[in-house]
Symmetry: C2
Subunit: 188 residues, 2 copies
DNA sequence: CTCTTTTCTTAAACTACATTAATTTTTTTG
DNA sequence: CAAAAAAATTAATGTAGTTTAAGAAAAGAG
């Protein structure tokens, strides 16, 4: 049984047959480090579940500066859900930070699963909720805490991730410059 | 037909009978200005649709400073959805900023509607999505823009609201001090 | 309508974080 | 493994936003 099947089983009750039917709608894909899974303003036709590796989701602001919005790693979903569901062009860039293996699902297959497998409806409902809740928490943190506090929290919350990705990427996620992050780390 | 019925009709196709059944599960409630609809760490048993007035959702950070997370006004939903759905204690405070009239729905009635009225399932799916998307946008803004840019955006996005609530509340939403907001306004 | 409380404004001193630029360390690539 | 490119460090200087404090204006209460 693959990691996706396990992930689903942890969230909803579902028979093994249904699970097989469900997993059949996914296709394995690979991207190499630094490759883009999605470019901003392209059409979004898939979302992804990570089997191996990690990605960053980012944008450029009006001054051309890159800002990391999220990191995603093993057993997480990623993609531009908003564009996938609304059929609007992608609002984000998504880039592999390590060699990456994912399970991809097309919108057509997503819709089929929603119709045919009620457990998938329940599962995606939980996914959306959790995404919503983690966004709420992120907003809170950006409002309430200093860069240093946000960095400590990041370390606590994503302990492995901080070993796997560069500080430049972490700084961009925290909303500070790499130079300032370097200074925070020194004075620890 | 009340504002909630209209709001639902704008989002999903639904018969008038179903709509009546649906609206019957809501109870009208009133709160006066400054009254709290929800206190942090209390149990959450209802969520609300606003007929009249506006509210702020806020927390205290570790230093005791208040931070506004959202404002909600006519035709919007509010409540601590996370706690409502997960049955955990409230993570937020919610306070009326004006005299307030809402339609409240209990968790029991929410669950009944989800079972009995498929259109309600579709409607809440859209609600959750939109909440998710607006959170994404807020995270982006806090990362990418200066206080002044965020203030301009706030004015453009909530033109009426800025007339209805105090600058102290707006500053708390923007993540700056009232003094600094005052300075931004002067130099306009 | 007056008294009290809260909000708003202004300004000076201060701090968290940005910018620039030079140097070192690490990673990537042929 | 050597050369090139990217990332990380350090330090000096600059700036967006905070803090404190005091007075003016507006809102709320009796």
């Amino acid at each position: 049984m693959n990691a996706l099947a396990k992930h689903i089983k942890n969230i909803v009750v579902i028979s093994d047959e249904q699970l097989v039917k469900l997993c059949d709608r996914f296709v394995e894909k690979r991207f190499s480090k630094k490759e883009h899974v999605l470019h901003i303003s392209n059409t979004v036709n898939e979302v992804y579940f990570i089997l191996n590796g990690c990605v960053r989701t980012y944008i450029h602001d009006l001054n051309g500066v890159e800002h990391n919005i999220t990191f995603s790693m093993e057993d997480w979903w990623f993609g531009d859900l908003q564009s996938y569901l609304k059929r609007t062009p992608a609002a984000f860039n998504i880039q592999a930070l390590e060699d990456l293996t994912v399970l991809a699902i097309s919108r057509e297959n997503w819709d089929v699963l929603l119709k045919e497998i009620p457990e998938f409806v329940a599962y995606t409902r939980v996914l959306f909720r959790n995404t919503m809740f983690s966004h709420e928490n992120r907003i809170l943190q950006n409002l309430s805490y200093t860069a240093e506090e946000r960095y400590r929290h990041f370390l606590g919350h994503y302990p492995n991730l901080s070993q796997r990705i560069s500080q430049k990427q972490i700084a961009s996620y925290l909303g500070i410059t790499p130079e300032f992050l370097s200074m925070l780390r020194r004075k620890k």
